[in-house]
Symmetry: none
Subunit: 220 residues, 2 copies
DNA sequence: ATACTTTCCGAACATTAGTGCGGATATTAT
DNA sequence: ATAATATCCGCACTAATGTTCGGAAAGTAT
């Protein structure tokens, strides 16, 4: 069995990620565009090679009739170690204009059933009231957070100067993620992106909802 | 949310078994014959009902564009006690103008002694040749990456369109992180920050060093 | 019963998506 | 170089597959 060519490896990983994202396999044309291949026949040709190599199952005349054969090539470079992890509930999404998702104060425990995300204790830190949000849209772009990012939040009403927090401007009824600077009667909110400008508000017009503990952006 | 009808339940379980057996979803006609339904339109109708109930994901005008909504995770019976993690070596820092750090090809093994970072296997994915870099300075600001961020890289020389990668412009001898789009003889490099403008280069002037797998920003 | 909603039927229709083929380019072996 | 093989390219063709629509049946509420 020959080693698959570079293009074939790219196709293979494209299929893998496509399935991961969509839960169904790609079409030949999906692969064509995704891997920047000039013709469907080239894709078909390489799929046949991959099938010969036993790396792929292909059913002819069946749309999306692909599945990965070498299913379990687990971790190859490192030994799996078990470490302490915390299960963080994914509470929802942030999007422009939408109310900011927060854990209900009545029952923090009924989060069971929500989707959970395992994160290593070490990188989360010791905080409590941790939850995660998925970002939708580019509304947080000035906080260097883009569509699809996962934001790890910690519920709190006080933050130190300079920390990034979800703050609500009462008078405008808007919520965004900004760096927070309390300056006596005024509060300055500064985007993470230094190319954007800061704004100041009356301190009693600003309400801190949660602080940002971490941002995770998975691109694959 | 109403309870699905008998026929809808049958369709749902058929889809489940079909995927179990084939690793890809059925067509409307597969369902039609499998559930002994007289018309494709009836299947389509009930699929819409199931989608409304939130039990099924359906993508219109996509063949086999079905997936079960209920199960978010593959493994159904595993206990979430300990998770697999990989130790990722922290190879160095990225800064403006500095040569891009890469693992030495001679000895991948002498990374011992380097600082290691434990990351969950699940969020890293199955890739090999993974390493991490710490960002210094704001040189990557247009890729939505700021000072102190941890960038998880995977060594590769080929990336697909749309992926973020570390690319080197040979003629300028510079290296940056950009979204990569191959367009035949030209290659377009697009910042993650949509407020910045894309640039195009001759394809043979662009060398792909690594692709960005993930970005981790810890703020605490 | 009457009206209203849900579900079903069939059959044509429109896209989507896999295949085939002649010939051009690479790549490798002799 | 020459030949042999592996890949790639467009493009047309066709099978696979989702959609639409008028109308019939079945089920529910008034």
């Amino acid at each position: 069995m020959k080693k698959p060519s570079e293009r074939q490896q790219m196709i293979l990983s494209f299929i893998e990620e496509f399935i991961e994202e969509h839960d169904f396999p790609p079409t030949i044309r999906d692969i064509q565009y995704g891997c920047d291949i000039s013709s469907t026949s080239v894709v078909s040709y390489n799929l046949d090679r991959l099938k010969e190599s036993g790396l792929l199952n292909r059913h002819s005349e069946v749309s999306r009739g692909l599945s990965l054969a070498g299913q379990s090539h687990r971790n190859s470079s490192a030994e799996p170690v078990s470490i302490d992890t915390v299960a963080v509930p994914l509470l929802g999404t942030i999007a422009a204009g939408s109310p900011f998702p927060m854990p209900e104060n009545d029952t923090w425990s009924d989060l069971t059933g929500q989707e959970l995300i395992d994160l290593p204790q070490a990188i989360i830190g010791p905080g409590t009231g941790i939850y995660a949000l998925k970002v939708r849209g580019e509304s947080m772009i000035d906080a260097l957070i883009s569509d699809g990012d996962l934001v790890i939040m910690e519920q709190t009403s006080v933050v130190r100067n300079g920390q990034m927090a979800a703050v609500r401007i009462k008078s405008e009824n808007t919520t965004t993620l900004k760096h927070y600077y309390s300056e006596g009667p005024r509060t300055r909110l500064e985007p993470a992106n230094t190319q954007m400008e800061a704004m100041t508000f009356r301190s009693d017009d600003v309400e801190v909802l949660s602080k940002v503990v971490a941002v995770w952006r998975y691109l694959g």
